[in-house]
């Protein structure tokens, strides 16, 4: 057996690495210290997490984990000192870095990558896990959806019986995890008026998790999330412990809804648009409730919520503004498109597609996104990123006139071109993939438009 370094020594070395990383301009130092710590001491995360007096909670999902965790943080943070990986470093190294830099924290709040969940949960031993949804995402990196679902079933099996599992009942694979579990909270949407009676193109999990028969949906809200029943074996959406009802959108600014549980109903005005953000808010409310937040804390936390890092972020640029909406997989991008179209579609958009590992090297997913409702309303589209030409083809074969497509692979030039085409006082809509979003924020930081994320996260 390898001799174990004292925890303090490993922590000190790793913290220095974080400062060096920032000084060297390599970013926020949000993963390097943790990577180093895990090498120096593989038991560090377990030991650091066990020191948190109020334990830890984990949020995972294909879409919305950063936003959901940030909402929980907003609800809890006035009262509880958190160790929270706010900048989205959600692998084991990111969790370790967060634990390192959170002196005096009472509660750990971690968004965790879907594939990393088993390993992180085993070490962190959370008192609650909130699971939001499973969509097809980066097949080249995660493998098929079923592989991730199988890992999650293992996580649910191995979770301490005293811990609480919070699940989205509207997702058949995820909702089924809480079956036969005593300590569980099931959340979902319950407002058929805001859904659709049919599934979108390329919906996942269309087939019964028990018997393989296609589900009947009485309503589908986002992708395959909805109210389903199997005509073969009767497997159906579980009863909801916490539901959103009477959803009312307010353009691109906000959405209101009733948060309903057995104790009553609470009207919430969330300052973010989109049905997917209603899901994030209900998930956050369910988890925050488990962690001891009062109804009033939940309402006020959600109502003062400021969008998570790059997810729906407005940046002022002189008289104009730039609205950044992260797109990373078909289900998430479809909701971004739907929200834009419903909230007053723009005439111009910059769409940026990169193909680094964090974006997915396989860019075929852009063909599964229903961009058409947005394209129909645009006069011009500036495509950018390393795979700008693929986006150009997506627009061209989606019926968009080739003369309206500008290919500008360099992100800074695409941003400049977009702003040049934006009317005075107007807003430029930018849809970047993950690493393109990081680069865009880097450009915005360099130009003094926003503070760097590691300062903001502090």
């Amino acid at each position: 057996m390898r001799p174990r370094l004292p925890l303090a020594a490993g922590m000190a070395a790793a913290r220095v690495a974080g400062r060096v990383s920032r000084l060297a301009g390599a970013g926020g130092g949000t993963t390097l210290p943790g990577k180093l710590l895990n090498v120096l001491d593989p038991t560090a995360v377990r030991r650091l997490a066990s020191r948190l007096p109020r334990g830890s909670a984990i949020v995972s999902a294909t879409n919305g984990k950063t936003t959901t965790a940030a909402m929980v943080a907003e609800i809890l943070s006035p009262k509880v000192k958190l160790a929270h990986n706010r900048a989205g470093a959600n692998l084991l190294s990111g969790i370790a870095s967060t634990l390192l830099s959170s002196n005096g924290a009472e509660l750990g709040l971690f968004e965790v990558d879907e594939a990393a969940l088993p390993d992180v949960a085993r070490r962190v031993r959370p008192q609650a896990i909130c699971l939001g949804n499973l969509f097809r995402d980066q097949l080249d990196r995660y493998g098929e959806l079923e592989l991730v679902a199988e890992r999650w079933r293992g996580v649910a099996r191995d979770l301490d019986p005293a811990s609480v599992l919070v699940v989205n009942g509207d997702d058949p694979q995820v909702g089924d995890l809480a079956r036969e579990r005593e300590r569980a909270v099931v959340f979902g949407l319950d407002d058929p008026a805001c859904g659709s009676p049919t599934l979108q193109h390329a919906a996942d999990s269309k087939w019964c998790v028990r018997c393989g028969t296609p589900y009947d949906y009485s309503v589908a809200y986002v992708g395959h999330l909805g109210d389903y029943r199997c005509p073969g074996c009767g497997h159906a959406r579980p009863a909801l412990d916490l539901a959103a009802r009477a959803v009312e959108p307010h353009g691109l600014e906000a959405v209101s809804f009733d948060l309903v549980d057995s104790e009553g109903s609470l009207r919430v005005r969330l300052p973010l648009p989109g049905l997917y953000n209603v899901y994030n808010a209900v998930a956050a409310a369910a988890l925050a409730g488990v962690l001891g937040a009062s109804r009033e804390q939940i309402r006020s936390g959600l109502e003062r919520f400021d969008a998570a890092f790059g997810r729906f972020e407005r940046i002022r640029v002189g008289d104009e503004s730039v609205l950044i909406l992260l797109v990373k997989n078909p289900a998430g991008a479809n909701e971004v498109v739907r929200t834009l179209v419903a909230g007053g579609p723009p005439r111009l958009a910059v769409i940026a597609l990169n193909d680094a590992i964090a974006d997915g090297r396989d860019v075929s997913w852009i063909w599964d996104v229903d961009f058409e409702p947005l394209l129909e309303r645009l006069d011009r589209v500036v495509v950018s990123g390393g795979r700008a030409a693929e986006l150009a083809l997506r627009c061209k074969y989606g019926g968009f006139p080739e003369t309206g497509i500008e290919v500008v692979p360099e992100l800074d030039r695409a941003l400049d071109r977009g702003l040049e085409l934006t009317p005075p006082g107007g807003e430029l809509v930018v849809l970047p993939t993950y690493t393109a979003m990081l680069s865009l924020r880097g450009i915005a930081t360099d130009r003094g438009w926003v503070k760097p994320y590691w300062e903001r996260a502090a």
Partner: protein, 251 residues
Amino acid sequence: MRIRVGHLYPDYLNIYADRGNIAVLSQRAAWRGHDLGVESISMGDRLDPASHDLLYVGGGQDREQALVARDIAGKGEELREAAASGVAMLAVCGGYQLLGRFYRERSGVELPGAGVLPLHTVWGDRRMIGDVLLACELEPGEPRTLAGFENHAGRTILEDGAKPLGHVVAGYGNDGSSGSEGCWAGRIVGTYLHGPLLPRNPWLADWLLAQAIGHQTGETPTFEPLEDSLEGLAHSVSAARARARGGKAAR
């Protein structure tokens, strides 16, 4: 002219953006004054070998592919009849495996395929994932390249007399060792390349459309080229990715 396309299992096999391939066929046919009529042929549907000029089979996740496997084996006779009568076909990834004779699972059990192409696939423990570049020559004296992305665990073995679609310039290909990729037989093309395949490789879309028209009229046309500069740009970026970071075949 109306080009009659049968899209097999679009509700099950659609994992790698297969509708991108259909969109390219449809638009390029339209730009040449033809109309692409696409009919869905799914589980339990009858396949009439005489009523299609082009059949398309896409890729699915393992679960969906297993659900489809039994059904497509049951359509084997009709598919082979269509192939013998000169119907054009494009099969991608899972669909490519399903057109073969069988798929041997990890347990050794062989799942029958449609038996259209002289090949079979065996389970492998390492997935072959990455960008790919192929060199092809479907028309004598007209060498071409295909750029795409592959993600498969199965190793496909071409049997005696089977011709590959192309030779691997960069990437894994059929089995990661032979240097061959896909299968080409008359008007039929099977391949692991998605991405999707046709938008950045429009020459193959045109070849398939010409074969489909050839099936209907008895005369395979030669098309005038279209404005393909965006397609060319996407192809060159994808080809560069394959050269820089495609899987290394063990040759």
